[in-house]
């Protein structure tokens, strides 16, 4: 039978995991966004050499499961470096930092593509118009292209953030005590899987609903600016 008393009780034990999940998602979103923007510009302006590297990088991080990347970085690389007699105490780096790095790399690959498509979607005529009034490349980028690209990409960006929240459930595989990690520990103790995981699901759900609400407000706010372009 469904144990309601236990179900409410699990909320307490799972709650400390929520900020960790949120931290991983938001940190990786910010750093991944910054990297992604740089990479997208490299792609759009076809910087020699760097362009090829970014293509390879994005292909790798989009073409392999996040789970595999986590395993590779957390377990594989320290063992590999040790075998090369690289003497470093990996215990000094907490698992959460691996999660932050790997999630950021993963996010940067996806955000590169999101930004790139947005940059390419800006009307060519606008760019030519900017050149015709005497703006240089950088001015055109800053004043004309980026603001419009931002408007185009905003829904995609926020969507990716919500996806990334759910991706954080994988961090527990490298011992990070995020929401999913705490749920596994709790379920292991009690074997009451339905109660524990339902509570975890509800917590993810509530977090995503709050974010969706905030994001819809942000989108509405920026909608004003979008209209002025037409």
């Amino acid at each position: 039978m469904f144990d309601f008393a236990y179900f409410y009780h699990t909320a307490q034990s799972l709650l400390p995991g929520l900020p960790i999940s949120f931290l991983i998602a938001s940190f990786s979103f910010c750093t991944g966004g910054l990297l992604g923007l740089i990479f997208a510009l490299i792609r759009v302006y076809k910087f020699p050499f760097l362009n090829q590297i970014v293509i390879l990088y994005v292909s790798f991080f989009r073409g392999t499961p996040l789970l595999v990347q986590l395993f590779m970085f957390f377990y594989g690389i320290p063992i590999f470096l040790k075998s090369l007699n690289f003497n470093f105490n990996f215990a000094l780096i907490d698992a959460i930092y691996y999660a932050l790095v790997v999630f950021s790399l993963y996010a940067s690959a996806y955000l590169t593509e999101i930004f790139r498509s947005a940059l390419l979607a800006v009307d060519k005529g606008q760019i030519e118009a900017a050149y015709s009034v005497g703006m240089n490349n950088f001015q055109t980028l800053r004043r004309i292209i980026l603001p419009q690209a931002f408007m185009i990409t905003l829904p995609n960006l926020l969507n990716f953030f919500i996806l990334q929240i759910k991706n954080t459930a994988l961090a527990s595989i490298i011992t990070v005590p995020d929401l999913m990690g705490l749920a596994d520990i709790e379920a292991g103790r009690s074997s009451k899987f339905l109660e524990v995981y339902l509570m975890a699901a509800i917590m993810y759900w509530i977090l995503c609903m709050i974010l969706e609400f905030i994001f819809s407000k942000i989108e509405k706010y920026f909608e004003k600016f979008r209209k002025s372009y037409h």
């Binding site: 063992i79 520990i185 103790r189």
Partner: protein
């Protein structure tokens, strides 16, 4: 002459002891079949040692799936089970257990080989790894609850091989697990680990007989006692696991 030999042979089978042993034979390293399909593994080898102490014992191994192991015993397909069986109340009511255990399933503190730990409290504020949801995790949690002054951090892993890897990576100071499983994983990863003398739990493992096999049970008990006294079982445990888990 031929008739005489035939009579002699049939007489000898009449007086010999039939030891029909049921085991899963798919449970390495306790009971499994080797390349030539002979029953081997720790539990089966213990039976072979015990049989060597019984005069005219005739050994016969029967492979049986785990879920049919007790019904196989009930229906007399074999007369002894040797398959890491532990005591439960229900089983004790229905079957005879051997007088002595031949093995202990344990939950111990395990460190890297260079450490010499005899008590968990010799570790200072350690990180201890366990597999999530395991009995080992439960035992460690309980221990820390009962010893609130001892500060330790539990790290939960999903699989055992990663536990061993992180012991080597020094992300963990110790792990709590069954040393047999861990020594095996460590060997595969070329890592040297050391099961400490600090034991959280020790569960004895017995032979099991039907209630009507009292005579056979007594015979096996006597043989097992001799084998234990002569150190044969300890020797076997050392050979199989590198640690003596027979006592």
């Amino acid at each position: 002459m031929k008739i005489l030999i035939a009579i002699f042979l049939s007489l000898s089978t009449l007086f010999s002891v039939d030891l029909k042993v049921g085991s899963e034979n798919a449970y390495k390293p306790f009971a499994y079949l080797d390349e030539k399909n002979n029953a081997t593994g720790y539990d089966n080898e213990v039976v072979k040692i015990v049989a060597s102490y019984i005069k005219d014992a005739k050994l016969d191994f029967v492979s049986v799936p785990w879920n049919a192991i007790f019904s196989g015993l009930d229906s007399a397909k074999f007369d002894i089970i040797a398959n890491q069986i532990v005591k439960t109340k229900e089983r004790e009511e229905k079957y005879i257990f051997s007088k002595f255990p031949y093995f202990y399933g344990v939950s111990t503190l395990i460190t890297l080989e260079d450490k010499n730990i005899t008590d968990i409290k010799e570790l200072n504020n350690p990180k201890i790894g366990v597999t999530v949801g395991s009995n080992h995790a439960y035992l460690l949690e309980n221990y820390l609850k009962n010893n609130p002054n001892f500060k330790a951090q539990i790290v939960y892993y999903k699989t055992s091989p990663t536990l061993v890897a992180d012991l080597k990576n020094k992300r963990l100071d110790a792990i709590v697990n069954d040393p047999i499983a861990i020594v095996d994983y460590a060997k595969a990863q070329n890592i040297k680990v050391k099961p400490s003398a600090f034991v959280f739990e020790k569960v004895p493992v017995y032979f099991v007989f039907r209630k009507d096999s009292k005579k056979l049970a007594n015979l096996v008990d006597e043989a097992l006692e001799k084998a234990i006294k002569e150190g044969k079982i300890s020797e076997l445990s050392l050979k199989y696991f590198g640690v003596d888990q027979s006592q």
